[in-house]
């Protein structure tokens, strides 16, 4: 979007162009002549310099255009060497005219004018001279030629153009020769348009940008390396435009009026005047009044219109014209003279010239840069003010102690405190693809607020599920994260989320649980803190460990107390509140608060076993051979042999408990098969959301048979 921004700045500058521009008066002489391929040594002085003394000036710029410097035959159109030679001839002639070796007093003098640029195309030539003292202030001089003749591209008709930056005004001179023949008005209009549109000057991107910065060109040209005719402060259009007198007036009548210098009836019938009036050609151009008799067609070397009987009789016409367009300001061009010269007269056209006062721009760079600076800081201020802003009621969410199997939600209030719409969303950290840790959820993760709108509430929920508990217990995770709230096109806000895990016996390993005689809540999670907590290392060594976790013992004891004959034991669900109260009592070592139901204790018992980070019966111990009545005894023994001591103790303890339970099967409605299934799911929970392989299903079934066997026999 930088380009649009730049364009805005340039547009502002353009509107303030007067603040950093000084205007200087200059004079420009423009001449045009169709030489009809003639070139007799004949003075150009009257044509080029004759007007100067009338206005007592020496023009700062002299631009002269020629047409038909060579015959427009097929050879000359195709091969350019004759053109080159004639270009040199006319260019030298002009320079000699402009720089006489002696002044009027006969004293030798230095050259007054220098050739800046010339450009030719077959019969067309344009030469540009400036006074030597201005040479340093002519920049970005460029030229182009466009053929629009045969096949729409040959140079028998077309335009040659030069452009320059004179001081800080951009000026373009177009010399052209348009389609001939009295009736071919549309052809001339088309040729004009072609030249206007196709002419292009390669001046480079930097110069184009400078021109825009000077306020001389539309900001839309930004990024372009070339300019067209239209991109100039002042355009001069000269040449043999070939427009004639409208055919509604008979040839003889035109001739009669021209010869007798009665121009009033002719002017309104001039085709160029008609086309311009109707808006069909040369739109935006201006031309001085035609106060000279038509310049075409003369008998060469005479001042008589061509009327010789062997020649076609033609109506005299103002073929040779000079127009201008002052885009910087219409007042910037004031025509002093628009006339024809009677010499040289070797051609069938008479030369035409115009002297003009032209106001040129001189940019004061320091002032221009000061305006830029002013605009840019204005823009910076607005841009910074229009950045989205939000206020957060907190950037730190402290969840305090978070417990196992608990969800806690804290809200953040987001208020739009800026002047624009604020679109916000949470974004992942660099190279991550999640917004937050897995134990946290954020809703919503994005939103929008308009200025003044009521605060949006974002809810952050921390949930300690069994998987997280296992990670926290293993020291592989902490309740600590940073959320990044990003405003679209604006800043980032960090929200710190933290909490402390209130330790639970759930989600731990049997091997660790048996090490601690104190309630688990009091045992630090952090390994270093734990070492400080147990200064005597032997206190927590395996040799000093409990047989089974005290928590398991406490809960089984509680179930006994509630009575094993309880109807629907192990099938009715517990009360969730009671379950978490029981868990809290286990974790803190505090006594169970009655009156929890037996079902709640049972649920706590099964959940505890299922939460262990390593199951009582790891799945790798499932039998690999099919269990049948013949091998069940030996397989059961083998299984018990490979169980680790703590797991063995726990399993034996559970089995004994279940056998007790089965003593009351009449009242509690349990059977050995049911109990074996419960035992199997508690001691070896199948991983959630994973489809087991069929071999594993089979091995698991084998394990089930073994547990059933152990329950029914007294083999432990």
């Amino acid at each position: 979007m930088a380009k649009i921004r730049d364009a805005w700045v340039y547009k502002q500058v353009r509107e303030r162009v007067r603040e950093f521009t000084e205007y200087k008066q200059s004079s420009i002489f423009v001449g045009t002549w169709n030489v009809n391929a003639k070139g007799k040594e004949e003075s150009l002085h009257e044509w080029i310099c004759g007007d100067w003394h009338r206005h007592n000036l020496q023009p700062d710029i002299v631009a002269v255009g020629f047409q038909e410097i060579v015959d427009l035959n097929a050879v000359n159109v195709a091969v350019g060497n004759k053109t080159e030679q004639r270009t040199q001839y006319w260019s030298d002639q002009l320079l000699q005219t402009l720089n006489p070796s002696h002044n009027q007093q006969g004293q030798p003098q230095e050259p007054q004018y220098a050739l800046v640029m010339q450009r030719s195309l077959v019969g067309l030539l344009v030469c540009l001279f400036v006074k030597v003292q201005h040479r340093q202030r002519c920049k970005a001089v460029a030229s182009d030629s466009v053929g629009v003749g045969v096949m729409g591209m040959m140079g028998n008709k077309g335009g040659v153009s030069v452009r320059l930056q004179f001081y800080d005004s951009t000026i373009c001179f177009v010399c052209c020769h348009l389609a001939a023949h009295r009736e071919n008005i549309a052809g001339r209009n088309a040729d004009y348009l072609n030249v206007y549109q196709k002419t292009s000057f390669e001046i480079g991107e930097d110069i184009v940008r400078e021109t825009i910065r000077n306020g001389s060109m539309s900001q839309w040209a930004l990024g372009s390396a070339s300019v067209s005719i239209a991109d100039h402060d002042v355009i001069f259009w000269l040449g043999d435009l070939n427009y004639r007198i409208d055919e509604s007036m008979p040839t003889e009548k035109v001739l009669e009026l021209a010869v007798s210098n009665r121009l009033d009836p002719l002017r309104p019938l001039d085709q160029l005047n008609i086309e311009r009036r109707e808006g069909r050609s040369f739109q935006g151009f201006e031309e001085g009044a035609l106060n000279f008799v038509p310049t075409y067609k003369y008998q060469p070397g005479t001042d008589i219109y061509e009327q010789r009987p062997e020649k076609k009789l033609r109506a005299p016409a103002w073929c040779d014209r000079i127009l201008w367009m002052a885009q910087s300001d219409p007042q910037h061009v004031q025509q002093l003279t628009y006339n024809r010269s009677e010499t040289p007269n070797c051609s069938d056209h008479k030369p035409v010239y115009s002297t003009m006062r032209v106001t040129v721009k001189d940019v004061i760079l320091e002032r221009r840069e000061a305006i830029y600076k002013e605009l840019l800081s204005l823009l910076d201020r607005f841009e910074n003010q229009s950045l989205p802003m939000v206020g957060l009621d907190t950037v730190e969410l402290d969840f305090g102690p978070v417990r196992y199997d608990q969800s806690v939600t804290l809200p953040i209030q987001v208020t739009n405190t800026g002047n624009v719409c604020a679109q916000f969303r949470f974004v992942p950290k660099l190279d991550e693809n999640y917004l937050c840790k897995s134990w946290m959820t954020v809703t919503p993760t994005y939103g929008m607020l308009i200025p003044g709108e009521a605060a949006a509430i974002i809810n952050v929920t921390v949930t300690i599920d069994n998987k997280t508990a296992q990670l926290l217990n293993g020291g592989r995770e902490v309740v600590d994260d940073i959320l990044i709230l990003r405003l679209e096109n604006g800043r980032d806000y960090y929200i710190t989320v933290k909490g402390t895990y209130a330790r639970s016996c759930f989600g731990m390993s049997l091997d660790e649980l048996v090490l601690y005689k104190d309630p688990i809540r009091t045992i630090p999670l952090d390994a270093i803190e734990r070492a400080v907590h147990f200064p005597n290392e032997s206190e927590i060594s395996p040799s000093n460990a409990l047989c089974i976790p005290k928590e398991l013992w406490r809960i089984v004891d509680a179930i006994y107390e509630k009575g094993l004959q309880n109807h629907e034991l192990f099938s009715a669900p517990g009360n969730p509140v009671e379950v978490s109260q029981i868990r809290e009592a286990l974790d803190t070592g505090s006594p169970f608060t009655s009156p929890s139901s037996a079902h709640s204790y049972v649920e706590c018992f099964t959940k505890f076993l299922r939460s262990l980070s390593t199951p009582v019966i790891p799945s790798n111990l499932f039998p690999i051979v099919e269990i049948n009545s013949e091998n069940i005894q030996s397989m059961s023994r083998k299984f018990l042999e490979v169980l680790s001591p703590v797991h063995y103790n726990v399993l034996v303890y559970i089995m004994s408990f279940f056998r007790e339970v089965l003593l009351y099967k009449e009242s509690n409605g349990l059977t050995a098969a049911k109990v074996a299934r419960i035992c199997c799911t508690c001691c070896s929970p199948s991983p959630a959301n994973v489809i087991m392989e069929s071999s594993m299903v089979q091995r698991r079934a084998g394990m089930h048979l073994i547990l059933l066997h152990l329950l029914e026999t007294n083999s432990i």
Binding site: R5, D206, R209, S218, A230, D231, S328, K429, L430, Y494
Partner: protein, 194 residues
């Protein structure tokens, strides 16, 4: 005025907490100073244009959080940055040690062409100076980075810091910003001047 193109550069401010990163930016962008600038929790974004003799540089400034716990998030902001200002507090030697580690991190993990300036801020507190100018200067020279002592409080050298950085940035590099859609001149624009 051979080239007056506007160049866009991402600039990141790094440095330990409470060295004055936000104050430098606020002084540079808004010419204001607050004695009790709140710590930046996140990354603030502002833009500011600098006019040079030969070109115009528009900085897109990311002012980062200095607190240690946010350090791991810094790469989000210095990645892709063409320029970095690493700030320390001349009254706090630890912050100078911190600045050196920021320089190292940037040289190792930042853009290989990143232009770095080391800014010794709070230069108005001369009586409490703990980091000598010469020490920081020779460190900067060894590492080929700019070094200036600044005061966001009295504005000393703040503009100069950004201008020096702007001057050092390569102006011939392709513009990082891509146009979202090509711009065409409106059909009816007659390109008239004035």
């Amino acid at each position: 005025m051979s080239s007056s193109r506007v160049h866009h550069f991402k600039l990141v401010l790094l440095g330990d907490t409470a060295v004055g990163k936000s104050c430098l930016v606020v002084r540079f962008v808004r010419d204001e100073f607050f004695e009790f600038q709140e710590p930046t929790i996140g990354a603030a974004f502002l833009t500011q244009t600098v006019q040079l003799d030969e070109s115009t540089v528009k900085f897109e400034i990311w002012d980062t959080a200095g607190q240690e716990r946010y350090r791991s998030l810094a790469p989000m902001y210095y990645r892709g940055a063409a320029a970095a200002i690493i700030v320390y507090d001349i009254t706090n030697p630890d912050s100078f040690t911190g600045a050196k580690s920021w320089v190292k991190e940037l040289q190792r993990r930042g853009d290989p062409n990143v232009v770095i300036a080391l800014a010794g801020n709070k230069a108005d507190l001369e009586s409490r100076r703990k980091v000598e100018f010469e020490e920081a200067q020779s460190y900067a020279e060894e590492n080929g980075i700019l070094h200036l002592e600044t005061s966001a409080k009295n504005a000393n050298n703040v503009k100069a810091l950004f201008v020096e950085l702007a001057k050092k940035l390569p102006k011939n590099a392709p513009q990082p910003e891509r146009e979202a859609f090509p711009l065409a001149a409106p059909q009816n624009d007659n390109r008239n001047c004035c």
